[in-house]
């Protein structure tokens, strides 16, 4: 294998050194996008936790008691994960939880779609059954969650990013 050494400007993604320069910033972008989504999603649900409970009940996937617990517990968890990713603290673990949650949501929404249900995903508040005449957005919701899952996976595989508390801890 020939390793070329170039001096001066190089297209950033066309060689090994270029990838090492760009990838960490992809990681930061993933952290910031995920943090924004989690903090907003959790934050919008915190003022009305009973509505969050109803959103989970609407899926009819969990027994009512467990659905209640998830409905009450998910919004603060979302905010916590968002804050960790924003700070870049314990990034790999926060990203792993983020990815697992996205998998759970994709399964839930797919299940509702497959059963012909008509519900709002409740991802950013609201939720529950849709009124007559409103159609669900399952495809776009799943697509969005797949994207967020990919961002989480990137951070699980490459958790070391610049501008992070993790990096400060490492002393890098």
């Amino acid at each position: 294998m020939v390793m070329t050494e170039t001096v001066g400007s190089t297209p950033p993604v066309n060689d090994e050194a270029g990838r090492r320069r760009v990838l960490p910033w992809v990681g930061v972008a993933c952290r910031l996008v995920l943090a924004g989504v989690w903090i907003v999603a959790g934050g919008l649900k915190l003022p009305d936790l009973t509505e969050s409970v109803r959103a989970v009940q609407a899926y009819k996937l969990l027994p009512t008691g467990l659905a209640s617990a998830v409905g009450y517990g998910l919004p603060p968890l979302e905010v916590a994960i968002g804050l960790l990713l924003l700070a870049g603290l314990f990034t790999r673990y926060a990203a792993a939880v983020s990815g697992l949650l996205q998998i759970a949501f994709i399964i839930g929404i797919s299940s509702a779609w497959a059963r012909g249900m008509s519900i709002d995903c409740g991802c950013f508040g609201n939720g529950g059954e849709l009124a007559a005449g409103q159609s669900p957005n399952y495809f776009w919701e799943i697509l969005r969650d797949v994207g967020l899952l990919l961002a989480s996976a990137i951070l699980v595989l490459r958790p070391r990013t610049p501008l992070s508390v993790d990096r400060w801890i490492r002393g890098a």
């Binding site: 109803r54 959103a55 009512t64 209640s68 603060p76 801890i169």
Partner: protein, 248 residues
């Protein structure tokens, strides 16, 4: 191995130990800050939770069953959860109310109606769902819950409007024969927190939208309600409640 090499190796080991010590210290600081944030957040949340719990909930003088009002004593229990601003609840009322009242009168069912408030965001900040629900509890105290509920659905305001004022609710009540106690109770919104607590309980019990019905404790899809009700009544030994379905 030469002395210089040993010295270099020793210095390397010391450097690594210092670095590891720094990582440990910094990890502790970061974890400490994170735990502090968690505690503060948890304390704020807990404080709000306690504050809500202490909101005085006035219990109705009327008899209640699971934050609902009961009609009839039949063997089949029908729980119906309605929000007075919900158009599907009005449609359900128009389709089934007569049949349900008849079945209760005939001793076939015990009908329990639960007023809930899940559509407050549709009344532009006036919380119509809670106010109408609270007003219906005032009507229950004077023994006219069923008539008042029917009248409320007949006068149902559109979603995304401020809904009816407390004065208009009082007038509807007077229209079904309710008096000054009811009017005062409606204007004071005595039972608003009872409605909110009932909504919370219903949400924990599976409510995700209205109307929500359960027959003998099992939730039932709206499209299957008529058939499931008939089957339950027949199973309990009564004739079908729907006269058009009788076979004789």
């Amino acid at each position: 191995m030469g002395k210089a090499q040993r010295q270099r190796q020793a210095a390397q080991v010391v450097r690594e130990q210092i670095a590891a010590e720094q990582r440990r210290k910094r990890t502790l600081i970061a974890v400490g800050v994170a735990v502090a944030v968690l505690i503060v957040g948890g304390a704020i949340g807990y404080g709000i939770y306690q504050g809500n719990k202490e909101t005085k909930v006035t219990e109705p003088t009327a008899a209640t069953v699971g934050y609902g009002f009961e009609t009839g004593t039949g063997p089949v229990t029908v729980d119906l959860y309605v929000d007075f601003m919900c158009p599907s609840c009005k449609a359900f009322e128009q389709q089934y109310e007569t049949q349900l009242q008849q079945a209760a009168a005939d001793g076939q069912i015990t009908l329990i109606k639960h007023p809930v408030a899940i559509l407050n965001r549709m009344s532009q900040g006036t919380d119509y769902s809670t106010r109408a629900g609270a007003s219906s509890v005032c009507a229950a105290d004077d023994g006219k819950f069923t008539e008042f509920a029917t009248a409320l659905f007949a006068a149902q305001p559109e979603e995304n409007t401020p809904g009816l004022t407390n004065g208009e609710l009082a007038d509807i009540g007077k229209g079904v024969g309710l008096g000054d106690t009811f009017v005062a109770c409606t204007n004071a919104q005595t039972y608003a927190s009872w409605i909110d607590k009932g909504t919370e309980q219903a949400s924990e019990d599976g409510l995700s939208g209205t109307p929500y019905v359960k027959i003998n404790g099992e939730s039932v899809e709206l499209k299957d309600f008529g058939a499931t009700l008939d089957a339950a009544i027949t199973a309990a030994g009564g004739a079908s409640a729907d006269p058009s379905a009788s076979t004789s």
